[in-house]
């Protein structure tokens, strides 16, 4: 079993999406404990990708490929788990998007993919999302966290509007807010009353784990 788990981790680490999907199907066909396959196999792989990214050994292409492999494996395993009435352990629900007036999508999508790969449920609203819509969706989905990307100095003020809207609806106590994007910083997060700032997709995963992750 350990050898199988290792090959799952390896498929993600090497960014081999076909292999990851094949292994996921194999796990299903052979009735392996799927939660264990996810947690001790594929998730180990994506954690290693994150670690090597932080050390400057892997770069954007490897990160994207690792996340894609993870996504393909989960695309097989999630429905399989749901069918078995066995819900994969979710670390929490994150509503994510790029703020209104801002069309930059790549960083936000990468954060969404890495969060999903690490066990968060994600609602990705895309780019150019009005502040109110973040809050509406978080309320509707019962999300524990809103993640807002802003790549422009002129659009980042929209992040503040999300914080204010949450306060207005008395949701500030239950919904955490994380911000990211080129012009943002720890200071900016503090200034607008957000709960944290993440400089890249890997940091975003740690931050989300800290803010709402139950582990």
């Amino acid at each position: 079993m350990q050898a199988f788990l290792d090959s799952c981790a390896k498929a993600v680490l090497e960014g081999d999406a076909d292999k990851a999907e094949k292994l996921a199907r194999e796990a299903f066909d052979k009735k392996y404990p799927l939660l264990e396959v996810i947690e001790k196999g594929f998730v180990e792989g994506i954690r290693e990708v994150g670690r090597l990214w932080e050390e400057g050994i892997l770069f954007l292409p490897e990160l994207v490929m690792g996340a894609e492999a993870m996504k393909r494996a989960m695309g097989v395993l999630h429905p399989a788990l749901a069918k078995g009435g066995d819900r994969p352990k979710s670390l929490g629900h994150v509503v994510i998007g790029t703020i209104e007036g801002d069309i930059h999508d790549i960083g936000k999508t990468l954060v969404a993919t890495m969060l999903a790969a690490n066990g968060f449920e994600i609602t990705d609203l895309g780019a150019d999302v009005p502040a109110l819509r973040f809050v509406d969706e978080a309320e509707k989905k019962g999300a524990g966290c809103i993640a807002i990307s802003a790549l422009l100095t002129t659009t980042m003020s929209g992040q503040k509007r999300v914080v204010e809207e949450l306060k207005k609806r008395s949701l500030r106590g239950t919904v955490k807010i994380m911000v990211g994007g080129a012009p943002c910083s720890e200071e900016w997060a503090r200034e607008i009353g957000a709960d944290g700032y993440a400089g890249d997709a890997i940091a975003a995963v740690s931050l989300a784990q800290r803010l709402i992750g139950a582990r």
Binding site: G15, E55, G56, I57, L58, F59, L60, P61, E62, V64, M65, E68, G101, I103, I106, L152, T153, T154, T155, M156, S157, P183, C184, S185, E187, W188
Partner: protein, 300 residues
Amino acid sequence: MTKDFLSTVKRRVVIFDGGMGSMLIAAGLTQREVPEAWVLGKSEKIAEVHAAYLAAGAQVVTTATFGASRLKLQSSEAGKRLDPEKVNEKAVEIASAAVQHSGKHDRFIAGDIGPTGLFFPPVGQLKAEEARAAFKEQAKALDRGGVDMFIIETMYDIREAVEALRAVKEVSGLPAVATLTFDKKPRGFFTMMGDAPEDAIEALLKEGASVVGANCTLQSGDMIALAEEFRLLSDAPLIFQPNAGRPVMEHGMAVYKQRPQDFAQDAVRIVAAGASAVGGCCGTTPDFIREVHSALIHGK
């Protein structure tokens, strides 16, 4: 008299200009606009920036065409409305007029080509031929406008820099400078895509770049170390154009805090490390170039 950038840069240190985008933002450009719209609509603002850099001692004037490839323009609402050929030709006209006006006829005009903003697989779906076609269109218009040379800059993927170089070489015999933008990682300097300096140098020289180097992302202090690394790896003429430090946010605006004098001292060290050309990137202003000029020329 035809101006020969190549023999000049082999003979002595050449001072390029500094940031254009951050200067235009200071002059009122909003994030809903693109600098290229000002080339057509507010050309006098672009001309003022060129004039200020020329007066500060810049020997190369870079056209305001960083984002003027068709692919880049198409990525924004404001850019979509612009005709790439017109923008590129007009930008050269503005730069030429500024040089004429300054009376300094030995100054070079560099046709600026920046990244498309799109990504090659696996990150995005950009195709080599697509990138090449967009760069070719831009290079042709810059060449027609009458540039003395090209500068391909801020590339984060060697593959895209190579396509830009090939495009330039297909339409023009003029020299090309090519720079990538590196970040400082725990194991050394790499582009976002993981390209190392030695791979960049090899690929760019092979494709016919006359001068290679780095710009943007790094502040001047870190750029010294990168210049030293480049020098160890190659005999080719090198160029470095650092940012004016790391931007900090003040009242929702990006502010660059480095003092021009400190930048200039680092520029001297970059030249001592072996650079043949220096200039500035984001946040640098004519004051920075004036200080660089005075530090390099007068040794103060």
